[in-house]
Symmetry: C2
Subunit: 145 residues, 2 copies
DNA sequence: CGTTGATAGTTACAAATGCAACAAATATCC
DNA sequence: GGATATTTGTTGCATTTGTAACTATCAACG
């Protein structure tokens, strides 16, 4: 009952990307969810702060393309759980610089090493050349033309 | 304030996959949302039926890894909008075979050609070899180990 | 100044989702 | 046959999300 034509659903790139993203994200989610009760957005905010240093919410939004309401809520929860703290910028009180607490830094260090391990298991199925191409394609596809 | 070490957040595969998936899915979503008021899951269910012919909800779940409650709700809405119809299987009345109506087939034909066009614009940035590798990687990464 | 417009971030409300419990039909095993 | 388990699909409820409206601060321009 397979239809004819050149197009195949299983080769539709947005669909393939979604499946791969869901499979790998849900898999890795177990780690930060079980260890720290974090949701995906919280993990990403933590990771941006750990990776790039202190940032404002706005900067995280721009870098990640996560919507500002999601970032706002993730920041609130991470603050409540003492993973980060806010500091008002005196020169412009609309901004708040976010920085990891000691506890947040420790969680990041742990999760970063877990992420590294997980990334390695994902990539070891591919050759070095394939890994380079995959990364290039994904970076390209993330750009909104 | 960039940290040291081999690992880079922007090379974390689940993160890169999610960004690429969101960018492309939201982009293509405009088409089926504006034309038919469909949500992502509804579009996917429609596409499975159009591509693979009549299926039960269970089969769609297995093929797509979409949760059965999401499929159940998408099927209800597609039925309400007359894009598909259910037929009880006499030999096993737990199953219901889903099939596209004339209207559902017409929507599928339209959206399939739009999807083909969109897919082409996504892939034309890459060489033939890169496309093959990308597809292989995504298929591989969709498997749960 | 003072009005207007832009920016950072929060919140209210409706919609979508995930989980667990559920109903109904069938399969299994004694 | 009959108790129990399994499968298919739906529903209730709590959580998460998206949109739009909102507050508060700053910028621009007369």
């Amino acid at each position: 009952m397979i239809q004819n034509g050149p197009f195949q659903l299983d080769e539709f790139i947005p669909y393939m990307l979604n499946r791969a993203a869901e499979t790998t994200s849900l898999d890795f989610q177990k780690i930060y969810k079980d260890s720290y009760g974090m949701l995906r957005t919280e993990w990403r905010v933590l990771f941006h702060l750990g990776r790039y240093g202190d940032l404002t919410a706005k900067q995280i939004c721009s870098m990640s393309d996560i919507h500002k309401t999601k970032v706002s809520r993730a920041v609130s929860k991470l603050e409540r759980q003492r993973f980060l703290q806010r500091t008002e910028v005196p020169t412009d009180r609309r901004h708040e610089v976010l920085s990891l607490t000691k506890q947040g830094r420790s969680a990041f260090d742990h999760l970063q090493s877990e992420a590294l391990k997980y990334n390695t298991t994902l990539l070891e199925r591919f050759t070095e050349d394939e890994q380079v191409i995959l990364r290039r394609c994904l970076t390209e596809l993330s750009k909104n033309k």
